[in-house]
Structures are given as C-alpha cells and as structure tokens.
C-alpha cells in the first residue's frame, strides 16, 4: 500500500493553497505604499477613488486571497473529498484574482475605463468561477455540520457581494447609470464584511479554535443556528434598508436588525475569548495572541458600530469601525492562522515526500513546525503588527499626524510576515532538494 499516495490524494498539492498565502502579504505591502503616498486624504472620505483602491487592496488582495487558498485546503479535509482539478482551478483563480485586483486598483487610481473593464472581466471570472466550483462541491455534499453550513452561507454572501460589486464596476467602466448607487455600495460593503468575511471567519473558528489550543468546543446548542440566524438577519435587513433609504419606512427598523447582527458578533467574540481561557494547553502560542487581539478588535468594532447607529451626534469617524473590523479583527485572525497552517502543510508535504521516495539517497530529518517558522520570528512580527494597528487606529482620528507613521510601521509588519512565510518555503525547497 502506498500510504503517501493516500495522504496526498486527500491533501491538495502544496502549491494550491501556498500560491494564495504567498501573494496575500505582497498586496498588504502595496496597500501600505498607497497609504503612505496618499496619506491623510484616505481617511477623509470613504467615497474617494483612492480610499476605494486601498479598501480593495486589503479586502481582495489580502483577505479574500488568503480565504480562497484556505478554502481550497480546508474543504477537501473537512469533507474528505478532493476538489476537482485542484492545480488547474488554483492556478486559474489565482491569476484572475491577482491581475483582477491590480486592474481594479489601477482603474480606481488612474480613472482609466480600460483598466476598470479589464478588472470586471478578470474579477468576474475569478469570483463566478470559484463560486461555481465550490458550489458544485457543496451541493454534492450530503453531510451537514455547522462548519459546512458556514462555508455555504458565506459563499452565497460572496456571490451577492461580487454581483453588486461587478454592477457598480459598470458605473466606472462603462459610465452606465445605475439606480441608487449609494444604496448598492452600502449593500456591497455590508454583505462583503458581514456575510463573506464575518461568517466565514466564525465558521473557521468553530473548527480551528478547539483544534489549535485544545479548548472545549463551541456550545453545540448554539452553533447549528448561530450563523444561519446572522445570515437570515442580513437577508431581511437588505430590503428594509432599501425601503428606509427611499423614505418608505423609518431608518430605525433596519438599524435594529444591524444592531442584532452586531450583538451576534459580540457574542461570538466573547464566546471565543471564554473558550480560549479554558484551554488545556499552557505553553505560549503566538496564534493565541493573534486570536485574542482579533476578538478584542471585533468587540470594539461592534461597540463603536452600535453607538454610531443609534447616537444622534457623530463622535468618531465611521471609518474607524471598518479599520477595527478589517485591520484589527480579520488581519489578526488570518495571520494567526497562517502561522499554524503554513508550517503544518510544509511539514506534512515533506513527510509525505519522505515516504514516497522508495530508495532515498539519504534520510533527511523533516524539520518540525517550530523549525519551519521559529516562534521568535512570528513573535517579532506580532509586536510590530500591534504597533502598526495602534498607529492606524490613531491615524483615523488624527490623519495628518499619524497616517504616514502608520503606513511605514504596517509596511514593516507585512514585510516581516512576507519574510516569515517565504523563508519557510525556502526551507521546504532546500529539504526537498536534499532528499533527491
């Protein structure tokens, strides 16, 4: 029995998720360059093309990039069934998403309709292609569990986000006049942040929080309905929000629904912090630091969001809520995960290679996870990231004073993340080389 073959049969080739994980921090670096050159103006108004360029560098280039890679890795393991043609799918989607994001950002920055049209085609292909393939696998799947439900609902949310986004792109690319562009933009943003990013990260947390730190499971009385409830609230909110914007109903009605969704997210954050406090493992763990920081940022983001919904006076910029959600919550959780998934996958593939070689020239010891990405490197990046996040939060309030400093420190944080991930891959290549 060729045991290695079986293992690899289920786990997609290493390059399938890695190409996404290795591209993502490069987009982070680009985002920092843009923040540095545009500086304080980025935080003045969420509608300027430069702000839109920055937002999409982060949401598509970093967050969606990692999540696409993670889904291609996770799905076959969760459901014990491989995705069809993993190499072809991964290569195509990766190229489309990378070039599409670059064209979109170029289109926003230069106002070029040609770039915007290219972006529409490339991103349209990336999203609709990826969603169709995932949809095909998820429909065939008979098993039912809260994680699979989370993936299903977040992929539907991605579909809604992408369709509205592509429609909005027509305004820039073809100067087509769409009805109510501001309402559509709000729907695009809300479905993207809450549905796609939020629900998927909660679903992944169900799987990885107990897995990484040996905590108890999320309560089984809550998990089956928790994500569907948030998703349903989002569906009901959508027409109510449109009606309220058209002055047909009071604005308070959709706001109450958003408040409830916010409550849901804070319950999730508190639940996670509580489970992590009950962990069995006592050794220090950098992923735990990242996740705790992420949950605190999520809680802060929700609290500020609810205050801004119901408060008559504007005390802080609404951009702060999004910064806390994306750069605080999503970034932390994603980076924490990368520090577990990347070294583990490299170890697993090296181990499998070792078994596959029938007559090895020499037996090479597979480096363990902490040799692949040493704790020291990850910890150093964590502290730089914390400082960068602090400066960025400050920059939202005092853009003229802090935005350049924030962009420089964030650049360093992404540079260290890039180095940590790439040096792991170099180690992989050198060990593979030694085996042959």
């Amino acid at each position: 029995m060729n045991t290695a073959f079986l293992a690899l049969d289920q786990t997609p080739p290493l390059s399938v998720p890695l190409r996404f994980f290795l591209t993502a921090p490069l987009f982070g670096l680009l985002a920092c360059v843009l923040l540095y050159t545009e500086g304080s103006y980025i935080f003045m108004n969420r509608w300027t093309p430069n702000t839109l360029a920055l937002t999409h560098l982060v949401t598509l280039g970093f967050i969606t990039m990692v999540m696409f890679g993670a889904l291609q890795q996770l799905l076959p393991i969760l459901v014990i069934a491989p995705l069809p043609r993993p190499m072809l799918v991964s290569t195509t989607i990766h190229i489309l998403l990378t070039l599409g994001t670059l064209s979109l950002v170029g289109g926003f920055l230069t106002g070029s309709t040609g770039m915007m049209r290219t972006a529409l085609v490339l991103l349209g292909g990336a999203f609709l292609g990826f969603i169709s393939i995932l949809g095909y696998c998820l429909i065939r799947l008979k098993a039912q569990n809260p994680i699979i439900t989370a993936i299903r609902l977040s992929v539907i949310s991605l579909f809604v986000t992408a369709v509205i986004g592509l429609a909005l792109g027509l305004i820039f690319g073809y100067h087509i006049v769409l009805p109510f562009p501001t309402i559509l933009t709000d729907l695009h943003l809300t479905w993207g942040l809450i549905g796609w990013i939020g629900l998927l990260l909660i679903g992944i947390a169900y799987q990885v929080v107990p897995m990484f730190q040996i905590t108890p499971h999320y309560p089984p009385a809550v998990t089956p309905w928790f994500i569907p409830l948030i998703f349903m609230s989002l569906i009901i909110w959508t027409p109510l929000y449109m009606l309220s914007e058209l002055h047909k109903i009071s604005v308070i009605i959709p706001q109450i629904l958003l408040g409830l969704i916010g409550l849901g997210f804070s319950v999730f954050a508190i639940m996670t912090l509580k489970l992590q406090a009950q962990r069995l493992r006592s050794v220090p763990d950098i992923t735990l630091n990242y996740w705790r920081l992420g949950m605190v940022c999520l809680l802060l983001s929700v609290i500020l969001w609810v205050i801004s919904l119901f408060s008559p006076v504007k005390i802080f910029s609404p951009i702060l809520v999004v910064v806390l959600f994306l750069a605080g919550f999503a970034f932390s959780v994603i980076q924490g995960m990368l520090y577990k998934i990347v070294p583990f996958l490299i170890w697993l593939h090296l181990q499998n290679q070792q078994l596959e070689i029938i007559n090895p020239v020499k037996i090479v010891k597979t480096p363990n996870m902490k040799q692949i990405i040493p704790d020291k490197l990850a910890r150093r990046q964590f502290w730089v990231y914390c400082s960068a996040l602090g400066l960025l939060i400050g920059a939202v309030q005092w853009p003229f004073i802090l935005s350049q400093a924030a962009s420089i420190v964030f650049f360093c944080s992404f540079l260290l993340l890039t180095y940590n991930l790439y040096q792991a891959v170099w180690l992989y290549q050198s060990v593979t080389h030694q085996m042959q």
């Binding site: 897995m211 040996i214 577990k340």
Partner: protein, 145 residues
C-alpha cells in the same frame, strides 16, 4: 443510548488532556514527571488506535464491503502519528526541550485534524451503519478508560 461518536470522542478528549499534561511537564523541564506523562499519553493513544484498528475499522469495512476508503486513510494517519511519538520519545530521553515542543506542536495539528475527521464524519457514519452492533465496541472503549 450511548453512541460510538460519544464514547470515542470522549476518549479523544481524554488523550488531549494527557497530551497537554505531557507538554506542560516538558515545557517546565520537569524531566522525571515528563517521562511518566509522555508515556501515559502515548499509551492512551496506542490503546485508542488499537481498539479502532482491531475492532472498529474491521467492523466498518465488513459492513461497507470494501477495504479502502476512510478507514485506510485513518490507519495511515495513525502510522504517521506513531512516527512522531517515536521521535518525541527520543528527544525526551535526550531531554531536548525545544525539539520536543516543536514536535508536539506538529503532533497536535496532526492529531486534532485527524480527530475532527473521525468525530465529524467516520464515527457518525459507523453509528448509522452498525446500529445495534455497536454495543460491544462501545463497551470495549468505555471499559477501562
């Protein structure tokens, strides 16, 4: 009624606890205690593996009628974990804290994703397929945990 899923998942949780205890003793460089804890952990895991490999998996294969499939995959992962156990014991004897902790981090990922697959897919499938025939298997696992 108790199910395979419940009983076997409970044994996973018990082994997780033993894993954490062993890791903590090594982290604190309490080598005498660590030797006992690591051995208790590995014995617990071996007991779990052997009940699966000798009783549960053959019963599953007999009922489904084919030899490959998920049980072979699980058995392969047991083999992979056994290799890590052997290396961990080696570093324990050498009292090499860093190497042990690096390996235990690796083992944790391997073990937890393996357990998740069993708890979410394989055990529920077995419960459904074996139905009333599960009693002796459950008894064996629950026996002297």
């Amino acid at each position: 009624m108790t199910t395979i899923t419940q009983t076997f998942s409970r044994d996973h949780a018990r082994c997780d606890q033993l894993f954490a205890q062993a890791e903590e003793s090594v982290a604190k460089s309490q080598w005498e205690r660590a030797t006992t804890d690591v051995n208790t952990f590995i014995t617990g895991m071996e007991r779990h593996f052997s009940i699966e490999e000798d009783i549960l998996f053959p019963a599953f294969r007999k009922r489904t009628g084919h030899n490959g499939g998920p049980t072979r995959m699980m058995q392969m992962e047991h083999q992979q974990m056994r290799q890590v156990f052997a290396e961990m014991q080696e570093y324990l004897t050498q009292q090499d804290r860093e190497q042990y902790l690096g390996l235990s981090e690796t083992l944790l990922m391997l073990m937890r994703q393996h357990n998740a697959k069993e708890e979410q897919m394989l055990y529920p499938m077995t419960d459904k397929m074996l139905q009333e025939d599960t009693a002796p298997i459950i008894e064996k696992m629950a026996g002297d945990q």
